[in-house]
Amino acid sequence: MNNARRFVSSALTIAEMEARKIRHDSTELWMRGVQPALWLLIFGEVFNALRGLAPGGYTYIQYIAPGVLAQSVLFIAIFYGITIVWERDVGLLTKLLSTPSPRLSVVVGKALAAGVRGVFQGIMIFALALIIGVQLRFDPLDIAGVFVVVILFAMCFAAFSMTLASLLKTRDRMMGIGQAITIPLFFASNAIYPISLMPYWLQVASRFNPLTYVVDAMRSMLLTGDYSGLPVDILALLLSTFFFIACASTVLKRLIE
């Protein structure tokens, strides 16, 4: 086996590990479905009464459905570092790093594992949207595209979270920082309201927020069908994913030293 194949095989194996765990016990997945359901059913329904909040003549619940999907994936990914700290504590991480698999593939594999969870989240939200009758473009290619974005996005923030975990080293700190980061990221994005409604400084901040590009990409595929912004969105997402994966694989070994 050459190096590239080994790399891919290791990363997939680590993601497979996660998928197998989900198969044995999927309780957590269902629990994680509750929050997005509440956002759609309560927040979405209430603000649905306000006409004109969502641009382009869409209902508000249509408008936030992609935002809620992005947000729920963000929650999974941003706390993924806690899993890594836990795996460090019980010695699993040490063991993974003692295999001949390259460090980078361990990071990519773990990030992919977060992606696997994100995909399940996506399926759940699509099902929910169908049930409560949210009008989305359920085109197979678009759906596939959304899943690609979900996976990339989960990888991006899981890697970010692993980087933080390698520096902070304890679960408590990770809980704290996770809480502190998610809300600003969420509000400084176009997930639940258009950027044009924001004060100017927040508009600027939202341009540096990967979540903005993710929501924009999802919205163009699920709602508008206007792909003009898509290349920029994907590029921004790819760049931040590569950046954080590089960061995480550089500092990960600090966790076990």
Binding site: M1, R6, S9, S10, T13, I14, E16, M17, R20, K21, H24, D25, D89, V90, G91, L92, T94, K95, L96, L97, S98, T99, P100, S101, P102, K253, I256, E257
Partner: protein, 321 residues
């Protein structure tokens, strides 16, 4: 693994300028009090921690230059039980077989072999969180063997096990070494275990190696085997050289220092009887590795003991969840 040299020092000096060789096919023990640097040493050899300075060579491969290549030759069983409770026993082995790039055609056989070998064949499809501690340990060693390592690292393999499971683990380790010629590097606190298992061992203390040698040599260095012979009749005050030497002779009790207690008993008894004494009983006391450990591990215990006690408590709290 011919010339494994390592010089290492950082602010903490967990391991301070140590060198040792482990010969191919032997069981080598690293003993020492908590915080002596055993685990750090293993971490450096397995390329999990980077030495500040020094060289490590494994079967001619420079571990610092080619860490991935080196890790392929290793099986590593860390101190804490670290099999994944949320997967089945089979899956735990499968994941590691894949991460060690075991050929697809060979994977299944190896996994089933390993489960069979460690008496877990009927538990392969059970989630590991439902295993007992001893079973988890065995699974963990099985996991470290799926890649058929040339060297197996066992960091405190019998910690927290009941005597029966401990014995099983020790026997399986011995068998592995005999059957497959796997070189084994083991750290332990259990002197009886080290004595039974190790061909050679080093005692570490305060990041340095205090002494290295075969258990029997080490024991001899703190005093040989002593036979206490209770007799009636003729008193014995001297022995022919080569048989042993009399340490003390009182009426009815003679203490004799001998080379090897077991084989000396019949010969000494024979000599006594021929010299006209009636032997009533012979008891053998031999120095244990405990004595060796006490002698060589005591020195630095004071200065470091506070920090060590703290770090032990920490790790107990961590593993005790």
């Amino acid at each position: 693994m011919r010339s494994l040299t390592k010089i290492y020092s950082d602010g903490n000096k967990a391991v301070d300028d140590i060198s040792f060789n482990v010969h191919e096919g032997e069981i080598f023990g690293l003993l020492g009090p908590n915080g002596a640097g055993k685990t750090t040493t293993i971490k450096m050899i397995t390329t999990l921690a980077k030495p500040t300075s020094g060289q490590i060579s494994v079967f001619g491969v420079d571990a610092l230059r080619a860490p991935q290549e080196t890790r392929r030759m290793f099986g590593f069983v860390p101190q804490a039980i670290s099999v994944d409770g949320d997967l089945t026993g089979y899956e735990n082995l499968l994941i590691f077989a894949k991460l060690f790039f075991v050929d697809r055609d060979e994977r299944k056989n190896r996994i089933l072999d390993a489960l069979e070998y460690f008496g877990l064949a009927d538990k392969g499809d059970v989630l590991v969180k439902n295993y007992s501690g001893g079973m988890m340990r065995r699974l963990e060693i099985a996991q470290a063997l799926v890649n058929r390592p040339k060297i197996l690292f066992l960091d405190e393999p019998s910690i927290g096990l009941d005597p029966y499971s401990k014995k099983q683990v020790v026997e399986q380790v011995q068998e592995l070494n005999k059957e497959f010629g796997t070189t084994i590097l083991i750290t332990t606190h259990d002197m009886a275990e080290a004595d039974a298992l190790c061909d050679r061992l080093s005692i570490m203390n305060g990041g340095k190696i205090a002494i290295t040698g075969a258990p029997s040599d080490l024991k001899r260095s703190v005093g040989g085997d002593v036979l206490t012979v209770k007799t009636s009749g003729h008193a014995i005050s001297g022995m022919p050289p080569g048989l042993g030497s009399v340490v003390s002779s009182e009426p009815g009790t003679v203490k004799v220092l001998v080379e090897d207690g077991d084989t000396a008993i019949p010969r000494v008894t024979d000599y006594f009887e021929r010299a006209g004494a009636t032997v009533e009983s012979v008891s053998l006391s031999r120095p244990t590795l405990d004595d060796v450990f006490m002698k060589y591990a005591q020195g630095g215990l004071d200065e470091g003991s506070f920090r060590e006690a703290r770090s032990t408590r920490r790790s107990i709290a961590r593993y005790g969840r």
